[in-house]
Point group: C2
Chain length 593, copies 2
């Protein structure tokens, strides 16, 4: 079918769909859906990050939400044929704002639809045609310059004026959300324990370079320039974030540590105790966002005999530079991304490295990922007119429930392409997997946030025997000189580095608010796929991320640059709507199970 015919069919389907919605005829709406259908909604119908799976779930959602949402003005904005049928983009309005989405038809029926709120009426972002003038022309004796206004606002916010929102954590997630909130006019302070924006990257190990490419990593509003490297070195990323905070005029409190937070349900305000530059200060925001990273505090192993070990032991998050370990025997416990990067850095510094692998790892060569997995985030995509916002929407148009199918097909291809590489790597004793259902890296990232490595050189060192691997055997205990394994063998080590991951982010909440609140909210991240380490049950979206949780006025935001970029829009809209007292009827109870 050519694209004109596709557009005509898409318009017909959307006309029927919207007519049925306008009539409140839910049965007629459902008639337009395939049996195995999905409606993914970001904040437009559900005020939630929610996927409805199947006609019954969609019907229930519409029963509850259609009246308040009052959608109208549905328009197909582009359409094309696909191998499966038709893919169409559309726009629509609701009682409170404007939205866009993508639906995909198979055999004339809707298999998937994505609906997203993009702006709140009367609170549109001041960009493009709506950008600020920057000056008040004319003459006035009370003129305040830009500098004076910024200085006044900065001095007042958090001192004489309370922010509506405080974001704890000034890494990429906090910064992007801060930028979105700034654009929506939500008074916000970003609180960060490091002195300078970007330090969360600068403080990491010396050789760190992003594993995702530039096209996937853009921040909102200010894309990386055309000469930006494909893979950003960590300090360059730090500098970018620091400039971004300045240029976007964010209220960023560096060198500030959150001590405790408590919520007063009566007033609807938080009491947030901070130490800023060594001085105690209390803030009373209405909304509190945890953007302390995709993960919680470092997870360390409590190893028997640890007290007897006479060498140095540290968690990988405290590792910075291998050069002081030149000539030393180092055991790296763990075999995922950080373990590899740390091991390579140690090898480059001249250390003798053994990776102690405790569970199988998904490895993919970076070149292969670039060639096969980033087609919509690439220079070619840019040349083809697929900008990052378009690519994001296309990625999100597929609900999590359907992603394993495509992911497995991709990894089948990858395994075939790199079969020789995988054979050699497996021959070293390195325990490989491609996820419990062979769906590879990205699904692992969504489910557990761990257990994978994008190979940028570490695997070859393992294949060449330059980095040794000890796998498939439990650690029995530490000895004064190293590690004793359950099989009776030992590994001499001057240094042990635990690349053993991180606790769930809800531990940060437990530490700051209370154990009870942390536990009530429960684990963050994960899909509930039923696979190992993925906290269940199935929710169809990431647990507790970017949406209401089991505590009022609290949001959790984070993830890689791409997820932080995309979902910051919806977190910001949720917060802005609450600030403006726009009704936000949330459909679907938060995860607590």
């Amino acid at each position: 079918m050519d694209d004109t015919a596709s557009a005509a069919e898409a318009r017909r389907w959307l006309a029927d769909f919207s007519t049925a919605l306008a009539a409140g005829d839910i049965a007629a709406v459902l008639d337009g859906f395939a049996a195995d259908c999905y409606w993914r909604d970001f904040v437009s119908f559900t005020w939630n990050i929610k996927t409805l799976e199947g006609k019954a779930a969609i019907g229930d959602m519409l029963e509850a939400q259609l009246g308040a949402t009052a959608p109208s003005g549905w328009q197909v904005t582009r359409a094309k044929s696909t191998p499966e049928g038709i893919e169409a983009w559309f726009s629509f309005t609701t009682a409170v704002g404007s939205g866009t989405g993508i639906f995909r038809l198979e055999g004339g029926l809707c298999r998937t639809i994505l609906t997203t709120l993009q702006s709140l009426a009367g609170h549109e972002e001041p960009t493009g045609f709506e950008r600020p003038l920057g000056v008040r022309h004319g003459a006035r004796r009370d003129r305040e310059t830009w500098t004076e206004q910024r200085a006044r606002e900065t001095a007042a916010l958090g001192v004489t004026e309370q922010p509506y929102c405080v974001i704890i954590g000034g890494g990429q997630g906090g910064i992007m959300l801060g930028a979105r909130l700034k654009m929506l006019g939500v008074p916000t302070i970003i609180v960060e324990k490091n002195p300078r924006a970007g330090d969360s990257w600068r403080n990491r190990y010396r050789s760190l370079v992003l594993h995702d490419p530039v096209w996937y990593d853009h921040l909102p509003y200010l894309p990386f320039p055309e000469n930006w490297p494909v893979f950003t070195p960590k300090d360059k990323m730090g500098d970018w974030l620091e400039s971004y905070v300045s240029l976007m005029e964010l209220d960023y409190w560096g060198a500030t540590e959150a001590q405790s937070a408590s919520f007063d349900a009566e007033t609807g305000h938080w009491t947030l105790e901070l130490i800023r530059d060594g001085e105690a200060i209390t803030l009373n925001p209405t909304q509190l966002v945890f953007a302390t990273g995709a993960y919680g505090p470092p997870r360390t192993l409590d190893l028997p005999g640890a007290d007897s070990f006479t060498g140095e032991m540290l968690h990988s998050s405290a590792y910075f530079d291998g050069r002081k370990y030149a000539g030393k025997k180092v055991a790296v416990i763990g075999a995922a991304s950080s373990a590899h990067d740390v091991s390579v850095d140690l090898w480059e510094a001249g250390a003798e490295v053994t990776m102690v692998q405790r569970s199988p790892i998904t490895v993919v060569k970076s070149d292969t990922l670039m060639a096969l997995a980033f087609d919509t985030y690439s220079e070619q995509a840019v040349a083809d007119g697929i900008d990052v916002d378009t690519a994001d929407m296309l990625a999100m148009a597929t609900p999590f429930a359907l992603q394993p199918v495509a992911a497995k097909a991709l990894y089948d291809k990858i395994r075939e392409r790199d079969a020789d590489f995988y054979d050699k790597l497996a021959a070293t004793g390195f325990l490989l997997d491609f996820g419990p259902d062979d769906t590879g890296l990205l699904m692992k990232a969504y489910r557990t946030g761990s257990g994978y490595y994008v190979d940028v050189g570490g695997s070859q060192l393992i294949i060449d025997g330059e980095i040794k691997v000890k796998s498939g055997v439990e650690i029995d205990r530490l000895t004064p000189s190293g590690i004793a394994f359950a099989d009776g063998r030992t590994l001499e080590a001057d240094v042990i580095i635990q690349s053993t991951g991180f606790h769930s982010l809800h531990e940060v909440i437990a530490n700051l608010v209370s154990r009870e609140v942390g536990d009530r909210i429960g684990t963050c991240w994960g899909l509930g796929s039923g696979t190992r380490n993925d906290p269940g049950p199935w929710h169809g979206e990431l647990r507790n991320m970017y949406k209401p949780v089991a505590h009022p006025n609290l949001f959790i935001h984070g993830g890689n640059l791409a997820l932080s970029r995309f979902f910051s829009k919806f977190v910001a809209l949720q917060i802005k709507a609450r600030m403006e007292n726009i009704p936000t009827p949330v459909y679907g109870a938060p995860s607590t199970d």
Copy 2:
């Protein structure tokens, strides 16, 4: 004619043109041109910034340059019909690189053609598909991180390794040229007397806001974000420049003053004496660029009786904040942009201001300029797919010789639109003009760089009598308490601010190199239009700007953000070609007359 037909005709014309060029048949080339024709070339045929006016001049240029240029591969890339005929874009290659251009046909013959070199073969900019990887994958014991490499290069450049190029002046012009040279791999140091990049804006008067809109002001590679204000406040511009220098990794020496420069014709190197952070340092670049602003040192009036004046007298370039003049009588000598901005700032601060106008000024309301003069630099243009590079090429496609016609038509419209405003302003005694030939602000800017004001509020204060105007009378002398005029009247003044403009940039060269060299190069800027203060004779392009001058290995770069952006590309290509020993046969002797 529809655009398909236009494209066909454009292709036919270009085919004939390129066939004649390939055959070296200059007569046949000229047959394709109208009698009143213009060929504007930026560095592709002439290694100069040059307009050839008329068939004879074009023929002479081709006689001299065609062999070395060896152009080929001419392709029409787009075309459209215009009221006058056809406008077509094209690409081509030369013996050393690739170019683009625009020609305009009238009655099937070429009225104007613009040819520009865009890149040197083998030295293309690392952008887009050519962007750097950012990391060397694999493992190596000599790995140097991005941070370490930058630190090493920064420590070496100018100390153990000589830069190929030094740019004197780290304002917008120096920074943009520095970015272009960085992209071309030309080791360059930017020398700036102020400590921080952006200080050249920060140090200006408190209320300064750019008069040109954001769409006209972009820097290369990193456009302003979509939320950037239309008119940038000066400190925000300063912050942008500072971030830009950091993100583009420029070698920027702040707090560094150039003391003297001398050129050794034998070695082809400069000896440049600097004081950097209080310490003397000598650099030996091959190329020296003056980017100290469009203007030279402040021009002050030597007024009789100045010694007797008991108040404060300063040049507008030293003016920062009117608030300390509250309640005082201030005379502002001059009536152009700075004089207006300073007067408004003083009025807002509560001073009693009189503008002493010495010559007529072109005034245009900012709103009117936005509505009528910035059609290709606007949000609508962006929405229509006209990005800043496209807009620049379109603007440059018209040679200076033809610009007055369109400029006069624009100002006829402006004068009609704002007739009431102009009547009221003239009624105050303010001396208005629209340039000697009624061509308005932009032509004045090109010809003399002075004598105009974009009205953002000052004119209404004059109309309302809040700012007084004394005009049409010469200053006779200063008295202890103010100014005595030739008509016998006096003006009491506690403070006199000379908004009297700047010397030509060649005075900076005279100060730094020698009077002889400064005078040999002669006046910079201006077209030689024969109108007042425009240094003649006619050269068809800005005098001495962006091109070879009457001294080897010396370039002059500057102008507003737009000109600095556009011409920095061609200055950079000229310098890069010389560094790579690519032949650069310059057509046309430099201006010295």
